[in-house]
Symmetry: D2
Subunit: 426 residues, 4 copies
């Protein structure tokens, strides 16, 4: 009974654009052809492209980030047909492992330009910035953010079962309604509606390929019915997830791997994005959607998450009064944004510039909690920063000592401020 | 060098309304007289009233909750003058312990009426409900929510330094502006402006007493400048907090103790509210407000928080698509509300009614995280429910077995639905 | 249904020798009269004396330690009759809380004289030393060991059910045999056989009192049949323990409270010894001794133990080659002793003397693990020292900076070395 | 600046006996030629053979175990010359990752025959037994021990710097003295002295090869001076270790990888033994041996160890009264052996046979602590068994339900008891 290495169900090419690889796809549609059938209980490995499908390089400029094509992203491995899965069942997915590819031991975190992706703090940091992280076993460090090292809480940013046609139509309708209702009040896109440009319909050909490109839901948002782009940092090694099944075989897809991410993934390309390898197994709970009242995915994290001890988190409070002093009504987003700004003001005293800190908040395993959401008019959130990711003391008792913190990568030839003067807004 | 028991700086009376006890106060104002002076390094104990100042009884009816007077709340112990603290300093507060009072080993969690306090889910659960929790050492159980037991992550809901007159005026102005701007669009109060009714000005007398009542900021919201009613469950035993100082002596106040609370304190009176005893010590960082860039409080939690292991949290996902199917734009509040509803739908299968689950979510140490806040149009949040607080198996693999779950306390003579039919909204 | 404060089943007097207090006892015997009957499910509180029954004072001399009478120790609260417990049942004990007494917020840790108690390192440190610890809420600090602060993992050193006469006879016989066999090879006592001197037979009077004193097993050792003096630091707040029952009513006793202790309790009086208050409840598993194959107690710790994060333990290795270079055969005791010596050599570089470090190892929550016990001829053990109990950096990367470390309390008028020169032994 | 995959410094052949592979060695000797030079700061990967050098197969018989040649074991990768390391320095080793080989995703745990290796319980279980574990990402399961699954706390069993000639001579002398002194009282070997049979001297040839074989210390025991075969389960991913340097270049070797192990590695081949891949980096502390008082290795574990929550460990107590009822004097080994027996008696009620439980105790991440080692005559130890590695409830409250537990692999054609009757010994 000799054991063999675990079977690969997807391999990817790191030298070819994601749009030219039919074993991946980047639209959610019930009719994307499944690439393989997997039996319940079988353990398989799947390689995944980085979310941009090889658009970003390991270099010291953010030029590639500035010009990234956001229609050509989120190339997902799959969809996988799980033998026996029927609409109404629950699909149980065990994430047995997530790893970088041995042949590409690095990833990147980026602040996207305000006009091309943006991010949680794009009002203050509208330019592009990039940090390359090198992976040394379970650790990551960046030449663009010195004195920081942490263990990856490696996870897929995107997992989901295929929508039924009915579910897909609901998505497209409700998102279109949002655009119709409020796009006029915003200067950046409030939703990403279906668009043929940049679509990868996987192994579909001919008319089907066109139809998927035209109807398929975009992958940017997560959605309650199936998960999708949730960017939940704790869905890491050893997690067990439960998804509703909408189509025969479930058609499960996975991708957008992150070596590490902070709660909120605040800089948009805010995790350490990477190509990588997942190890998976599947099982089925018959009629599980109803049995578990499963309107959105459920999961239990694995048992090996980073553990610093609660007393090692320097924790910042954020409230729904914005940087101009304006009072918002119980808005958790405003509150969390303020907590992020508090960290920037705190850490810049050690010599980092604001963009570097923005990247730290995005990529390191920071904890973002809702604290109070009912006491009018202020929502309160907390942001826990693990002190042990720094190789110097950042506690309030620490003596400030200026260090050479180098710089993150910016767009070539640009010269813009790297600190934002919040006091100027008041 | 015989050691003596630690000195009490505040004692409270459990048989008298909070409004009649001058050693506590319930307005934020620079001129509330300090009740005592404490030296840096000294360890002291302070008793605190429950947030309603003895308005709620240990009984099986929610009548007291229905008629609670929300102007007569948040009686805070203090303010304490910390010797040597000057405006611009940082006040370091060590929360050495938080305990229930030995003479009152119980607390309560309540769903408030939609027209008197409301809560995070008041659109669905507008009636009053109450659960009494008995404290057995570090554990709490409730006769109104059987089969649940957990260890308290005991903490003060409110802590803060006194505002300067300038800070106070800023608070009152910005909250008034909110009322002016948006109250018309809401059917419940969007902010609580100063109000003489119910004011407890502490030891102030005569004109000063009136002036504090008239000008003093209400205690309902937390505020970025000093913390206040943050309801951060992790600010528990052993935490070390850093506050900006605005007035001579800092004038620190504390109260609104919670035996336990879930992230968000969603039912408004959503923690296990209790009278109790805190052990504190203080120190000062000169010019700390500037040195630490301290615009809001900072803290490091203690090292003895409940630890269930990450794999013991059944985790629910919530997105910013509301219960009617409407798409909201990156709204973390909507997303977290949906995660709460997912738990209600899941747990009711075991026999609990919706109000009981609402109370569990409010009072048990659940984890509410921001997962993704940048992928238009959906914010994603997670809600981690520790499975080990139940004495039966609630995992997705569990066999459903109907148990007698009794009931929480409702208003006498009422007869209203205890489940909400979410499907009716679509 | 007004709740009342929880009932006390034992109160103790801190101003009277333990030997004069009949609500406690210090011998294990089936006929010690039970002091009270407790119903299953009832929650009760019991005060406990410190292990010496008030022999040790809060002062700066170890004179009291030098002359402590070791026959007059381990005054246990109880025994408690648990209603319905029968021989063959299992008694389930929930340790709901353990606290110092509010009226005595301090404890002590001591190195005992080699001729009066000794300790794990008495070959090197034969003199007496004492450290007084002050309790500030959940934290302890000592004026005799500066720059150290930790949260108590508070626990009873002793818990047990009463032996039957048959069990008692087995104890006395097997321990007597040990004395007969090997006492001649040792210069300190290898076991403590029954002795009337110093006996406290609780509420027994007349002949029974004499008989208990004469036959009763001493409390120094833990014993497999019922637990007893186990000194398990993890049997702390929230633990649930299962004991075999040997007599009607179980006759459960408890005492020897520790504010904190390191694995091994190496200095003999090696925990922070204190008087205190336990909160308990009991239940019964019928025929549980057989059902659970319960030859020794079982337990599950509580969920709020100190948590520093694994990476915050500086971990020392110890092997079964002793300090003279002699090879021992797989002896875990020798190996653990060597790990202790490694810590002493490491920490003394920061300015502590050896006795202070010996007391740190005894009292702080250090982790002592068996690593390998099968690879001839060396056993290997590890000793994990939590770095975060020190207020300065003790990591290998730390710069050594001499601090004034003061001194622990020694016997008045003595002048002996405070460091041991291990290299002199080779 | 394109990043390349991390460099391999050792590759191994899984189809050839370890004795025929010169890139590994199995004796400790200063003159084993270093295989490669590594710069401080460089990150490298090294493959390692399983400890038997491919002697054990993935099958359902323990025949290979029965006849394993224990002189032909512990093939270590290296030694590695670390550029700049000098005698007296400390070598800092970061274990960046430890993984099974992708091409061999399985390992084994074995009970060795009493006459060929033995184990901690060989008085009761003298026959051979084997369990094959399959690795699915971070999880392991065994067809020979159903209903158990756990996450690997993957680690090298052996790491060490090369001894100087002086250190080597001390080892050989003191171990020989032990054999001279006490071998007569034992029926199994008390130490493994140098032996040319089975020696692999790495890349040494000619006379040097012979001399290493003749003088080189065996690898079975760990040794205080350099670590070696410590079998410390917590020396896992992300650990940082400090070793004394005795020879130019340090000559660091590593091997004997374990997917998982319980404290004590009690069945001798008691971990899940595997071939695998380590990722390492090195740095040097000049004069670190003296600076750190480094007589034995030190380490800090990584931050991603399995975390079940303390309340999820069912904990057994063991005392130094042996299974015949004989009292031993403070012997931690006896105490831990009794704790192991308590687990066997407890778990066999669920249907496992004793050998299966012995293998669980050896291979799963159980916690073995020293509790008390000073209270004559009983040492007390604890053994914490994580309940969550079982897919059914093993708590004391569980209903016993007989399951088909299959069997572990035994020697072909044997028929021996699989349970030991401990009561027969009394």
């Amino acid at each position: 009974m000799p054991a063999e290495a675990i079977k690969y169900v997807t391999k990817v090419d790191l030298d070819k654009p994601g749009g030219e690889q039919p074993q991946v796809h980047n639209r959610w549609h019930p009719d994307v052809p499944s690439t393989v059938t997997i039996k319940p209980g079988e353990v398989v490995k799947a390689e995944c492209l980085d979310w941009t499908g090889n658009q970003i390089g390991n270099n010291d400029s953010a030029d590639d980030l500035r010009h990234v094509d956001l229609t050509r992203i989120h190339y997902l491995s799959g969809p996988y047909n799980i033998e026996g899965a029927k609409p109404g069942d629950a699909l149980v997915v065990e994430i047995k492992d997530v790893q970088p590819l041995e042949r590409q031991p690095w990833g990147y975190c980026g602040v996207f330009h305000k006009q091309n992706g943006g991010g949680f703090l794009d009002k203050f940091y509208g330019e592009c910035a990039k940090a390359i992280f090198d992976f040394h076993g379970i650790h990551a460090t960046s030449r663009h953010i010195p004195h920081v090292k942490f263990t990856g809480l490696v996870h897929p940013g995107i997992m989901g079962t295929a929508p039924s046609m009915e579910v897909l139509e609901e998505w497209n309708a409700r998102e279109k309604k949002l655009v119709d209702d409020i796009q006029g009040q915003h200067d950046t896109a409030v939703a990403q509606l279906p668009q043929t440009k940049g679509a990868n319909s996987g192994q579909a050909t001919g008319d089907l390929k066109e139809r998927i490109a035209k109807e398929g839901a975009r992958t940017i948002p997560g959605r309650p019915e199936h998960g999708g782009n949730c960017d939940i940092k704790n869905l890491s090694r050893g997690s067990k997830c439960y998804f509703p099944v909408y189509v025969e075989g479930a058609k499960f897809s996975i991708g957008d791997l992150h070596f590490s991410q902070g709660d909120g993934e605040i800089s948009f390309c805010g995790a350490i994005e990477m190509a990588g390898l997942v190890t998976l197994s599947f099982s089925i709970i018959k009629d599980g959607t109803k049995k578990l009242s499963l309107k959105s995915p459920l999961f239990m994290p694995g048992d090996v998450q980073n553990q610093y001890g609660p007393a090692r988190y320097l924790t910042f409070e954020g409230f729904s009064v914005d940087e101009t002093g304006k009072q918002h009504h119980l808005c958790a987003n405003t509150a969390y944004r303020q907590a992020c700004v508090r960290v920037i003001e705190y850490l810049r005293r050690f010599g980092y510039n604001d963009y570097q800190i923005y990247l730290i908040l995005s990529s390191a395993p920071i904890e973002g909690h809702l604290a109070g959401v009912v006491d009018v008019p202020n929502a309160c959130t907390t942001l826990g920063l693990p002190m042990d990711i720094f190789d110097f003391d950042i506690s309030p008792e620490a003596e400030i000592q200026k260090r050479d913190m180098g710089n993150c990568a910016f767009v070539s030839g640009t010269d813009h401020p790297v600190h934002f003067d919040y006091d100027s807004l008041k």
